[in-house]
């Protein structure tokens, strides 16, 4: 999946990496949204996106991720607050703001009778750029759509349609790309392609904001993560820090004989006894280099503690939400 030629990537990636750009590329302040139904979908969101970063918005269904994205892109009218895109107000200076943004929506909404080629060229001009067949060809080739360019969109599979939506979003060479659940209902291969594409775009200096339900996806891709819960942004943190704080894992020994207490030889690990001493549980940090597991298993064996089974469990996104929300209350 090559989106741009390498020379271009190399040229553009240097400033992007240096990227501690002072001004945020998106500045959201006090943003609220109450839908006509009276439902408060967003409650006072403050968020700054840095130029060139990959930002993942995590949150359960109905948290408000799509609403937030839709406001920045101009599809939903905010109830209050301001959004600046590269310094341009999204309402007063909407042309300059929107010209910088590409959006891949969550739903697969495409025309049916248009060809791939026509629809992608349409997108470019709609965003005020003059036709550029070479760029469109590069985008289509990068997304493995070139062979399908003359096909009507309705004849494509779901995964291909999603690629078409990405191609449309990239047609006008946006500086900021929103991907609303790019990997929902997508097979492993396309998912890998998508990640590769995101990295390539980032190397070109494109800022990327994606939403996802999968914590491993955020872990894999993002520089920073924001967690949205019931219309509030409850955490915004560097990925590595967040994973340290929240990405807990557990290793459970199912013992043959119940233990009365944790043997002192094992005090170097954070161990708890559960289920009346029948389970020995070790909680550790998922992102740690040194988990001490091999050593622990050896010591347990040396101490002659017999176990029937070993089980590991990673804290799910749900657990993280629960812990975040209960921390706040």
């Amino acid at each position: 999946m090559t989106y741009a030629n390498t020379a271009e990537v190399r040229a553009a990636s240097a400033p992007a990496r240096a990227g501690a750009d002072a001004r945020p590329v998106i500045a959201i302040a006090g943003l609220t949204k109450t839908y006509a139904s009276g439902f408060p979908a967003l409650k006072k969101i403050d968020l700054e996106i840095r130029k060139g970063e990959i930002f993942a918005l995590l949150g359960p269904n109905g948290a408000g991720k799509t609403t937030l994205i839709s406001i920045v892109c101009g599809i939903v009218t905010p109830s209050g607050g301001t959004v600046l895109v590269d310094g341009h107000d999204i309402i007063r200076d909407y042309r300059a703001a929107r010209a910088k943004i590409g959006l891949v929506p969550q739903e697969l909404t495409t025309d049916m009778f248009e060809t791939v080629w026509a629809t992608v060229n349409f997108s470019r001009r709609l965003f005020g750029r003059s036709p550029d067949p070479t760029h469109i060809e590069r985008v289509l080739r990068g997304l493995s759509l070139w062979e399908k360019r003359k096909n009507k969109i309705m004849t494509l599979s779901g995964g291909m349609k999603r690629r078409v939506l990405i191609a449309k979003a990239l047609a006008h060479e946006p500086e900021i790309l929103f991907l609303d659940e790019p990997t929902a209902g997508v097979d492993v291969e396309l998912r890998r392609d998508m990640w590769a594409l995101v990295r390539e775009l980032r190397a070109k200096g494109v800022t990327i904001i994606l939403t996802t339900h999968y914590i491993d996806e955020a872990e894999e891709m993002a520089d920073r993560i924001g967690v949205v819960h019931k219309g509030e942004l409850i955490v915004v943190e560097e990925k590595t820090k967040l994973m340290k704080q929240l990405g807990k894992k557990q290793l459970t020994f199912h013992l043959q004989e119940p233990l009365a207490s944790v043997p002192p030889e094992l005090s170097g690990w954070r161990l708890v006894l559960k289920d009346g001493g029948r389970e020995l549980e070790y909680t550790f940090n998922g992102s740690e280099e040194e988990t001490g597991i091999p050593e622990l298993v050896r010591r347990v064996g040396e101490l002659g503690i017999g176990f029937k089974d070993l089980e590991t469990r990673q804290s799910s996104l749900e657990d993280i939400f629960v812990s975040l929300v209960s921390d706040r209350r």
């Binding site: 599809i75 929506p105 739903e107 709609l126």
Partner: protein
Amino acid sequence: MNSVAKHCIFNGHAIAAIYKFEMARALRTLLQSVVTPVITTSLYFVVFGAAIGPRMSQVGGVQYGAFIVPGLMMLSLLTQSIMNASFGIYFPKFTGTIYEILSAPVSSVEIVIGYVGAAATKSIVLGLVILATAALFVPIQILHPFWMIAFLVLTAAAFSLFGFIIGLWADGFEKLQFIPMLIITPLTFLGGAFYSIDILPPPWRAVSLFNPIVYLISGFRWSFHETSDVSVEISLAMTLVFFFLCLGVVAWIFKTGYRLKN
């Protein structure tokens, strides 16, 4: 990497893109869009021209067959402008592809020019196809070609705007049909498409003057035959009023985001 914003004042590319998209939609069904009016017009001439015409002979000094040509054109122009424009904007709302238009750096004026311009173009072409078909049946005279074109374009634009409003307002396909079928078509028939309202008894003639379509047909017919039910200045004024009324409503809709944005 990007040199956006040379076009910060006017996005002509977007207008071209929308216009081209809409015209491509019509070209895909070219046969249907041309054959249908040709057949319908021919049928009208067979029924009205050949069967009834000889008994009517002349209306206001014009042979009946030629007399109904402007009315026939108006009938199609009004309904098709509405249908084209309402469908053009309703469909993206229905499928969700409107997200792209809403997220693009385009103003409401540009969106309207793109959609309404395409819809009006289509119905003007349709009107000319009907005129050409009619010429096969009756000799056509156009005494004021400039005004004929002016009325044609203005009416197509006004009713395409009206259709655009209906498309924005509609929340189901049946609503798209409702106004052209149940309001515009009857009003056109009663508005003197096939007769002069002068032949009606005075009370009905008075009632007819409340039908705005009377003015459109009358002015258009004047540009052909110099015969009219009401004075041509009033016709022109009424057409302009309707045009600006629709323009105002569209402006209001975009300003408030009514049925377009949450």
